[in-house]
Amino acid sequence: MLEGGGGREGADKARDEFFNEAQELVDGLGRDLLALDAALKKEGQFDAELINDVFRGVHTLKGLSGLFGATRMAGLSHQLEDALDDLRLGRIELTAAVLDLLFQAVSLYTRLLTAEKGELPEPAQEVEELLSVLGQVSARRAGASVGTVAQYDLDPGLFGVLTEYEEHRLRTTIQQGLHLHRIRVRFSLATIDSALDELKAAVRPHGEIITYLPTGSGTDAETIDLEILMASAEAPDRLRAAIQGPNVSIDEVPRRASASARPSLLAPRPAEARVPGEFGPVPPGPSASAAADRGRAASLAVEPQNPAGAASSMGLSRAAVPRAAAAGEMSLRSITQTVRVDIRKLDRLMTIVGELAIVKTAIAKLSDQARTRAIGPRELAHELQRLNRTFDRHLAQMQGGILEVRMVPLGQAFDKLARIVRQISREHAREVRLVVTGAETEIDKLIVEELSDPLMHMIRNAIDHGIESREDRLRVGKPPIGTIALNAFQKANHVVIEVEDDGAGMDPTALAAAAVRRGVVSAEEAEAMTSREVMALVFMPGFTTKEVVTDLSGRGVGLDVVKTNIAKLGGVVDIASDVGIGTKMTITLPITLAIINVLLVEIGGRLFAIPLANVDEAIALDETHVRAIESREVLSVRGASLPIARLQRLFGMQRPRVSHQRAFVVIAQVADRRLGLVVDELVGQRDIVIKPLGKSLAGTRGFAGATELGDQRVALVIDVAALIEEVLASAETRRLAQIENEESSRRHPALRRA
């Protein structure tokens, strides 16, 4: 057989790397923008370093996409870079509307990446629209302020060596009312690199470094004196305490008494007067001259958080801002499936592999001895047992180690959700705050990926159906800004994620009425339902209470998809709601999909595995307690009725020649539905690695996959959720079981279950 050329394989690998790296960069951009947004909302100002981070991210993306011929992405990055440069240099203001554009760019990047993979058409038009809007923004550069700097007693020569960016930062920090400090430090030339980094780290919590200037007055050839200009809100004494060192002196730069009398040092500075010295080439910029034209102290403070106002002040109409993506085609799923691993974790695994190799050598030696009969059978058995124990221990360590490698913090999914919350709440003028706890909770990487979209639907639902408008909230005495809490925590072998809103809650009566109107249930059925059952109706396909369909939700797609997707991961969704107080949806998920604990059972002479997560208990089947109701079998267990399914019959397997004396019932449960699975034998528990069945068996229902049992044999893993769905599918069966329930509890009042 011919092998494919190594070249193509190499190119594919490089492409994969490209996708991985680009995805990480885009995720990083999203995080930085959120931090910017939060800072802007909270303090009205932001850390300039954040803008620099975004700028660097976009710059790297530009290079990367250029390298891989992703021209549209490179074009977008180029224009973004320009806009970010303007932001960095204060030529344009960072307003909420500008942030909107940046957020849109992030979601466009994701769609472009998906398009590069050939999974979707390129969002060419959206990119063009965003590019033209970005162009408008850059053209609208505001003039920067001058004059204030002159209040400080600074060497006029200083301004000749500042870059445009440093100059801008100097101006901004002064406008924020910060004090300027001059730090003189003597460095030894041998250690200047590390010493400077230490100093930067020490300074960072207290203020911002504007520039470093060599003083040229080093005492000898081994040392160099630097003058550092920093802006800080703190007094010199406190700074001196924080930034200590043998060769450090800190002085505040005094303000001049008659500042306004002096002419501005900055304004008349012509471009050619700049010294492109050791600070790198100075970018040519119109800001200085523009500033001179205006001569006014324009404020760099940020606009208030009024979405509509912010957009119009940018001169952009709502319509001009391209929408990131239609709600329907949006997905938060990453396009890559890579896990970053701490090298130390891999080292540990490597050590275990080493231990396993030792066991292997011992086995080889032992089998040699056994072949040449150099060892007696008793001794051989003893040695084998010992080796088996060692092997078991190392294998368990290996398993644990690999599981650990697969685990990633839920924060990976939550970060993206924060972006969505911001977008939705701005588009729909609902004020919403997302409070996240437990983002560090770890879960299998595969689950995190599959979780993003269901969580997004739940949050959309909470904003559209839950959180009321500002006016309504004030009327009932709630805080004007709604809160959505996203809580995650580990509970035994499960991870629980709660999405809780403090909105209007759901009225069971209204829900039931809507369900009847939509024909999801009949009026009689609705009548007979408990309020918990009514709540569960929101997960039915086609269910919605909204009369008006918005692009958020209301089309009746969403929550049923959420339920299906969560069920695919072996999890369940629950809902609880109080009218006027809020709604809480709870997802319970297994920590990992990779290794699961199963109960091995025998059916018709073959082995099957049932995930223990779905097993309540296993009991012996007493045929005298089985009653047939319209071809369905129901077993009475401790006074309650349990529908049962004889798996051998359900699977259409032929009876074995030897019939079993006594069968067993494995009581399986998914969410609040229970089903007894009748099996021939209980074999035991085991940890297994579950593998999917191939595409060719996609049409075969009832199995979640299969696992290897050692000795080359394979056992099928039963998909309990699918079987329960299949057996209890019809409402009729459900009702039968219910009636049975009531009857039996009437007969045995003492055994009634709480």
């Binding site: 073959r606 999917p692 060719s696 068996l697 299969a706």
Partner: protein
């Protein structure tokens, strides 16, 4: 290798290519007394059948799943797929691991594996010679010149892998 040997071999290869144009390799195997052959490029591996785990509710042509070095592979009984009589699996039976680039490898259970044939275009008759309505998986008839009149039923594995 000596120069003489090499040049003789080269000459022979050239002559054969001139005679018959491009040659392709087919793996021949037995099934209910007939000889079938598939492009060898579509066979990733030939396995001795391990224990096969039946999958209840699977299509009747599927005999079950096996694990090939940790990967689950669906095994199709090629006799049943071709509507031939069932027969017990014996020592000569093999599983061909078919890979047609669809992303999934499928095992094909056959009675025995024979040999590899190199067929030129002239040695292949199109499926139409068998009459109009041939199933999609019949690709043609191979008549190797040196097979003393034996024929190979050439199969296209794609339809079999896609719809077992």
């Amino acid at each position: 290798m000596s120069q003489g040997l090499k040049s003789r071999k080269d000459r022979r290869a050239t002559r054969r290519t001139d005679d018959a144009g491009k040659r392709s390799e087919y793996l021949a195997f037995g099934l209910a007394g007939e000889t079938y052959a598939v492009p060898i490029a579509h066979v990733a591996e030939i396995l001795r059948p391990p224990p096969i785990t039946e999958v209840p509710r699977a299509p009747s042509t599927v005999c079950g799943v096996i694990s090939v070095r940790g990967r689950l592979v669906t095994v199709v009984d090629l006799r049943r797929r071709m509507h031939l009589a069932d027969a017990p699996v014996d020592r000569k039976a093999r599983i061909l691991l078919a890979d047609v680039g669809s992303g999934e490898q499928v095992g094909l259970l056959v009675d025995e594996v024979h040999q590899v044939w190199r067929l030129s275009a002239a040695e292949i008759e199109p499926a139409q010679v068998l009459g109009g309505d041939q199933p999609a998986h019949i690709a043609g008839i191979g008549r190797p010149a040196d097979a003393r009149g034996r024929i190979l039923i050439l199969l296209d594995l794609r339809p079999i892998v896609e719809a077992p």
